[in-house]
């Protein structure tokens, strides 16, 4: 299936939010970032101000010189965040696969959703009009098979534009562009390339893979791919882990069962805390033991019911420990692993519902306290010497 990746970029986001609260700013040169006599840089500039050469990251003083009549605003971070969340909420109504890359731009994966929404262009129009209707802000959207091309496309489409790059037309879109338009190609690379006579993306592609590799090493390989419009469609917002593990190496090898069990209890506590932070449940529990001769054994047990509770995990870990350790061999390292991760089981329980719910609430409360005061602020008595 061909990937369908949107890059949605809010137009002059900070300035547009300011205009919502102060409509008289519309059409004026507006610069957000601070007052002109302050030290600091431009966070955002309206399209009017940009006509004078003002751009973000420019010192405020320079901006003032270029565009003396501009309205300078200090900026309201909380409002921007609020509107960013609103926009994200709308994105998520369309697809669950949304990666917010910054406060005002996101990648959306619409791969395989044609039957749900129709062609990419029509869903892009709906997305843009819903954002406008619900936030009063305008957004530009680039569509292609890769994140890189979509990002370039949304930039070309601005303001309030939609640009769909048809599959296999990536190179012809990118070719005439300045190399600096490629995401990830900064001033330094641009200068180096200019010295080589490379001005446009087409020039870059013409250099060929081998020369770029020779000149820039791995970065050259990456540049070559960028020039071809080849880039990932992979969404790394998938921060859901495949497994979670925690290990501990003893300061001195030990054969003291109490110390080993206590350490395991601490490791379980850490691992379960991370598991719950992802709102996940584990089905497989693994114990890792390394002895003084560096022999490593791992033993795993599968649960019928996935769990996220310290107690249930620790019971299994200790069972595995007693099955795989003679309490004599000195242990150098212990580890606990959780895998077979998934979201909350949907099937309800007939028995012990209350005690399960109570335990869940208890651990959630402990997690909250840890979130505020640090992991070691609260711990179960089992992990204390």
């Amino acid at each position: 299936m061909e990937p369908v990746i949107f890059h949605a970029d809010m137009d002059a986001f900070f300035v547009s939010v300011e205009e919502l609260f102060e409509p008289s700013l519309k059409g004026k040169a507006v610069i957000v970032g601070g007052l002109p006599n302050q030290r600091g840089v431009v966070s955002a500039a309206s399209y009017e101000a940009r006509k004078y050469g003002v751009h973000s990251a420019m010192p405020l003083v320079t901006a003032k010189r270029l565009c003396p009549h501009a309205v300078f605003l200090p900026g309201r971070r909380d409002k921007y965040c609020e509107y960013s969340r609103k926009a994200e909420g709308i994105f998520r109504r369309f697809t669950p696969v949304v990666e917010m890359v910054s406060i005002d731009e996101a990648y959306l994966d619409f791969t395989g959703s044609e039957r749900l929404y129709g062609a990419p262009l029509s869903v892009a129009h709906r997305l843009r009009s819903e954002v406008e209707r619900e936030t009063g802000l305008s957004v530009s959207i680039g569509i292609s098979r890769t994140k890189l091309v979509s990002k370039v496309a949304s930039d070309l489409a601005k303001p309030r534009g939609i640009l769909w790059v048809l599959p296999s037309h990536e190179a012809s879109l990118l070719g005439p562009l300045k190399v600096g338009k490629l995401p990830g190609v900064g001033k330094a690379t641009e200068m180096q390339l200019r010295d080589l006579g490379v001005m446009t993306v087409a020039d870059l592609a013409a250099l060929g893979r081998q020369s770029l590799n020779d000149l820039f090493g791995q970065w050259g390989e990456s540049l070559y791919c960028k020039a071809q419009g080849q880039n990932t469609a992979h969404f790394d917002f998938h921060d859901e882990p495949v497994s979670i593990s925690n290990e501990h190496t003893f300061a001195q090898d030990t054969s003291d069962p109490e110390e080993v069990e206590l350490t395991l209890a601490q490791l379980v506590e850490k691992a379960a805390h991370r598991l719950r932070a992802h709102r996940m449940f584990a089905r497989t529990i693994t114990l890792k033991l390394r002895d003084l001769h560096f022999r490593t054994v791992t033993r795993a047990a599968s649960l019928k019911e996935p769990t996220h509770l310290d107690g249930e995990i620790l019971d299994r870990v200790l069972q595995l420990l007693h099955r795989s350790w003679d309490c004599k061999t000195k242990i150098r390292l212990v580890g606990v692993g959780l895998s077979g991760l998934g979201y909350a089981p949907m099937q309800g329980h007939l028995f012990e519902r209350e005690s399960r719910e109570k335990k869940t609430r208890l651990y959630e409360a402990a997690d909250k306290i840890r979130g505020k005061f640090g992991f070691d602020s609260i711990t179960s008595a089992r992990t204390v010497k």
């Binding site: 019928k304 949907m346 099937q347 309800g348 329980h349 007939l350």
Partner: protein
Amino acid sequence: MELTVRKFDILREVGLTQGVIEKKNTIPILANLLMDAQGDSVQLSATDLELGIKCSCPAKIKKPGAITTPAKSFLEIIRELPDADIRIRTLENNWVQINCASASFKIVGLPKDNFPILADLTQSLVEIPARPLLSLINKTIFAIATEESRYTFNGALLLLKPLSVTMVATDGHRLAHIEKQIPLDPLNTELRTLIPKKALAELQRLLAEADEKDVVSFGKDENHLFFRLKNRLMISRMLTGQFPNHEAVLPKDNNRSVVLNREDIRSAIRRVSLLADDKSRSIRILLANNQLEVSSNNADLGEAKEVLETSYDGEPVHIGFNCQYLLDFITATEDTKISFDFKDDQSAGQMRPATEEEFRYRYIVMPMRL
């Protein structure tokens, strides 16, 4: 040992012992069947140490004695023999010879000395009518957990009272509860017993051949349960542990009830479940406005929906279930009308036959989060 038996007499008994014999046992003798010829019958025994079966069939004993033979091969041979008298005798070095008409087999045996001694039913505590007992098992056994670390869920609870017999099984997500009013002789107290799933499955086979008037003698010693039906005795290791408090989960105020035609709801669920999520097997039930809607959706495949007309016009109920759990009950019950009783979308749903005649039968299922 030397004896002659009729093919069908011994075939039926040998067939009954097969379920007990462990296919992947590490102790070789447990793959064998013990034949013990005494008087005018031959007794057959098989065990996997958890469960044992003893049965017998009439035989002409020429020379009393005992031997064990590989159970699977022995059954296969008997089954293929012509319908005639079979002569079985031991030769030297534990060889066993089987002759029937013009066919002749020689198979390796093992001496009986290494075969475990199966406990005997010394005193029957109570006689349970066989047919009703079979119904009780058929209507609960499916709810027993197949794998569960808390192993008291691996069996069903048999509750014998002077005037009733009850069987309860659960896997923690659903519970089947069935009770029959029946005078039990001679019982003047309450008897609680946990029976392992494998023993129940074997009992099903034993009881399948029972007649209307047959009774099962039930007894126990410290470690074993005994069930005897005529010439057949089943011995099971006892399950120890606490069966969950099932009384507490039997719903009392599931007032949103709808009566459905068993065949209608069964085919609807079977159809809709074709597009249920592969992993969770969840389907939705929406009960409102004189309709019961069963629906499913599968992210990879699509969605399905079926509507049944009902007489229900109460508060709407929107609830999710594992479709297999519902089908298990609908398949087990024989009644043509089934009642679904709900409280709300969070609480356990109850299913039962709409009219109660022979049994009081209840099936409790926890919903799935939608």
